[in-house]
C-alpha cells in the first residue's frame, strides 16, 4: 500500500474513533482512552529502538517524564499552547536520547540497557530535588474546562484525546515509513548482526543514534500533555513503574517485527489494564502485565502477531 493511502486511512480511522466516541457521549471513555492511546505511542516508540534495532530501553519512564516536566517548566515560566509543548518535549527528550546513546551505544547492547535503567532513577532524583518544577511535593497544572478548536467547543479531556490521537497517527506512520525504508533495513541488520552490518557498509553508530533520538522524542511527546491530563504531577506518577513495564511488554507481547505488534499489544493490554484497575486494583494489574511479559517472552518470542502469521503460514503448506 502506498504511503499516502496509509496516512489517509490512519487519519480516517482516527477521525472516526473520535467522532464515534463523541456520539457515545461518555467522558470516561475519553479519559480511559487517552491512557490507551498514550501507550500506543510509547509502545510504538519503544519498538523503533527495541524491536527494529534490538536495543532494549528500560528507561521509557525517563523520556516520558522529561516530556511531562518540560511542560510543567514552561507552564510556570512561559505558558504555551500544548502543540508547542509537544515540539519542545520532543526536542528535550530527543536530545536526552541522543546524549545517552552517544555515551553508551559504542559498547554492547547490554550496557546501553543498564544505562537506561539507571537513567530513570537519576532523572527522578534530579526532578525530586528541583523545586521549580515542584520537587517531591508535585506541581499543579491548572487548565481550562473547555477548548475551542476550529469553531467547535469541546471539553478539555476530549481535546487532549484528539492530540494524543494525532500523536498515535504520527508514531504509527513514522514506524511504518521507517520499516520500508533504507533506514529500516539498516536497523534490521543492526539487530541481526551488527558486525556483519558494519562490514557491509552500514554506519551502525549513526543509525543507532537516530533510533534512540527518534524513540526518545516520541516518548517525550507522549509525556508532554500528561500534566494537563492529570492536573497534578508528582515524580512518582511521571516516573511510574507502569511506563517502564508497559513500553516493553506491549511490543513484546504484540510482536516486535512491525508497527502492528505494538498497536495490538497496547490496545489489548491497555484495555485489560483499564478494566482491571477499576475492578481489582492497580498493583494487581501491573503484576498481570509483568507475568504476561515473562510468559510471552518464553513461549511466544515473536509475539501475538508472529504467532498469527506463523499459524497462517503453516496452514498454507
Amino acid at each position: 500500500m502506498r504511503s499516502a493511502w496509509f496516512i489517509l486511512i490512519c487519519v480516517a480511522v482516527a477521525a472516526l474513533t473520535f467522532l464515534g466516541l463523541r456520539v457515545v457521549h461518555n467522558d470516561y471513555l475519553f479519559i480511559a482512552g487517552y491512557t490507551v492511546l498514550q501507550f500506543i505511542v510509547l509502545a510504538t516508540a519503544w519498538n523503533i529502538l527495541g524491536g527494529y534495532c534490538g536495543y532494549v530501553n528500560f528507561g521509557s519512564a525517563a523520556f516520558f517524564a522529561l516530556g511531562a516536566y518540560t511542560s510543567v517548566f514552561f507552564h510556570k515560566a512561559y505558558p504555551l499552547p500544548i502543540p508547542a509543548l509537544l515540539v519542545l518535549s520532543a526536542v528535550v527528550s530527543g536530545l536526552a536520547g541522543l546524549g545517552m546513546g552517544y555515551l553508551t551505544l559504542r559498547l554492547r547492547g547490554a550496557f546501553f540497557s543498564i544505562a537506561t535503567l539507571a537513567l530513570a532513577v537519576v532523572l527522578q532524583t534530579l526532578v525530586v530535588n528541583w523545586d521549580y518544577v515542584g520537587g517531591s511535593r508535585g506541581a499543579y497544572v491548572i487548565r481550562a474546562n473547555t477548548v475551542e478548536l476550529f469553531g467547535f467547543a469541546m471539553p478539555y479531556v476530549q481535546y487532549l484525546f484528539l492530540l494524543m490521537l494525532t500523536l498515535v497517527v504520527l508514531a504509527i506512520v513514522t514506524a511504518r515509513t521507517i520499516e520500508r525504508s533504507r533506514l529500516g533495513f539498516g536497523f534490521a541488520t543492526i539487530r541481526d548482526d551488527e558486525l556483519a552490518a558494519e562490514a557491509s557498509g552500514v554506519p551502525t553508530l549513526r543509525l543507532k543514534l537516530i533510533a534512540t533520538t527518534l524513540s526518545g522524542a516520541l516518548m517525550g511527546m507522549a509525556g508532554a500533555p500528561f500534566p494537563y491530563y492529570i492536573g497534578y504531577l508528582q515524580p512518582s506518577s511521571a516516573f511510574g513503574l507502569e511506563y517502564a513495564v508497559n513500553s516493553i511488554a506491549m511490543p513484546m507481547i504484540g510482536g516486535t517485527g512491525s508497527w502492528i505488534g505494538p498497536l495490538v499489544g497496547a490496545l489489548l493490554l491497555g484495555i485489560i489494564q483499564q478494566v482491571a484497575t477499576v475492578t481489582i486494583s492497580s498493583a494487581v494489574n501491573l503484576l498481570i502485565v509483568g507475568v504476561l511479559l515473562v510468559v510471552f517472552v518464553i513461549i511466544a518470542p515473536n509475539g501475538l502477531v508472529g504467532f498469527v502469521t506463523q499459524y497462517f503460514r503453516a496452514k498454507e503448506r
Binding site: R182, F185, G186, A188, T189, R191, D192, D193, L195, A196, A197, E198, A199, S200, G201, V202, P203, T204, L205, G257
Partner: protein, 244 residues
C-alpha cells in the same frame, strides 16, 4: 611500481597476554591475486579483522588506496572499497537472501557513489550477483533455509555486492565439493579480470596454488614467507611449520 592498494606495516595485535599478530608487513598491488595460508590459530582471521576494522591493531599502520585507515570504523573502510567475507557465515537472518545483498548496495555502494537505484535496478543487481554464485533460485528464501555451503556462497556474494576494490575471501571454500571449488575459483578469476584485487585465505592448497600470483604464510602471528607460490611452497620453514 604503482602505489600499492593495501600496505600493512608492522601491524601487531594482542589479546591480554596472547600475541595474535607480531609485526606483520604485507603489500598488495592493485589487481594482484594474493593467497594467505597458515595453520589454524596463526592469526589469519585476526589480520583480516584488523585490515577491515572489526578489530583495532595496536601497533603499525594499515594504508588502503593511499589513505591511512587505522581507527576508521569498519563501515567507512567498506565504503572506501574494502570488502570481506566472514569465515563463519554471518547472514542477516530476518532478511531474504536477495535482501541480504540489498544492504551493501544500499549502504556501501550508495554512500560511495551517491547514486539512486530504483527498486527494480536494485533487485536486478542482486539477482546478478546471486546468479554468479548460483543462488538466484533461492533469492526469496531466508538464510536459515540454505545449506552450509549455500551460506558460504551468500557470504561471498554479499562481499561482492559491496563492489569492492579489494576483496578478502576468508575460507569461503571449506566443505565445498571439487566442482564447487572450481566454480568459486572461476568466479574469483572473473572478478580479478575485472580489476578487483583479491586476497584468498584458504587451507585448500590446490585452490590457493592455482589462483595466487603471490603467497604469504602466517605462523603463530608472524609472516614467515612471502613470494611466488612455487618458491614459498619449497621453503623449508614453511614445510616444517605448515605443510609438514
Amino acid at each position: 611500481m604503482a602505489e600499492p592498494l593495501l600496505q600493512i606495516d608492522n601491524v601487531g595485535k594482542r589479546f591480554g597476554g596472547f600475541v595474535a599478530l607480531d609485526g606483520i608487513n604485507l603489500t598488495v598491488a592493485p589487481g594482484e591475486r594474493v593467497g594467505l595460508i597458515g595453520p589454524n590459530g596463526s592469526g589469519k582471521s585476526t589480520l583480516v579483522n584488523c585490515i577491515c576494522g572489526t578489530l583495532r591493531n595496536e601497533t603499525g599502520t594499515v594504508r588502503f588506496d593511499g589513505r591511512q585507515i587505522d581507527g576508521m570504523p569498519a563501515h567507512k573502510r567498506t565504503i572506501l572499497g574494502l570488502a570481506r567475507s566472514f569465515q563463519l557465515p554471518r547472514p542477516f537472518h530476518s532478511l531474504s537472501v536477495s535482501e541480504n545483498l540489498h544492504i551493501p548496495l544500499l549502504y556501501a555502494v550508495k554512500s560511495r557513489s551517491g547514486s539512486h537505484l530504483t527498486p527494480a535496478e536494485l533487485e536486478a543487481h542482486c539477482v546478478e550477483y546471486l546468479r554468479l554464485v548460483g543462488l538466484d533460485h533461492k533469492a526469496r528464501k531466508r538464510p536459515r533455509d540454505l545449506t552450509q555451503v549455500e551460506m558460504r556462497k551468500l557470504e561471498l556474494a554479499r562481499a561482492m555486492a559491496a563492489e569492492p576494490k579489494l576483496l578478502i575471501a576468508d575460507e569461503s571454500m571449506a566443505g565445498l565439493s571439487h566442482s564447487e571449488i572450481e566454480d568459486i575459483l572461476k568466479l574469483l578469476r572473473q572478478l580479478s579480470e575485472r580489476g578487483i584485487t583479491i586476497i584468498l585465505i584458504e587451507h585448500i592448497m590446490s585452490a590457493v596454488m592455482s589462483f595466487s600470483q603471490r603467497l604469504a604464510v602466517l605462523v603463530s602471528g608472524k609472516k614467515i614467507a612471502d613470494g611466488k607460490p612455487d618458491d614459498v611452497v619449497r621453503n623449508p620453514e614453511v614445510e616444517k611449520a605448515y605443510l609438514g
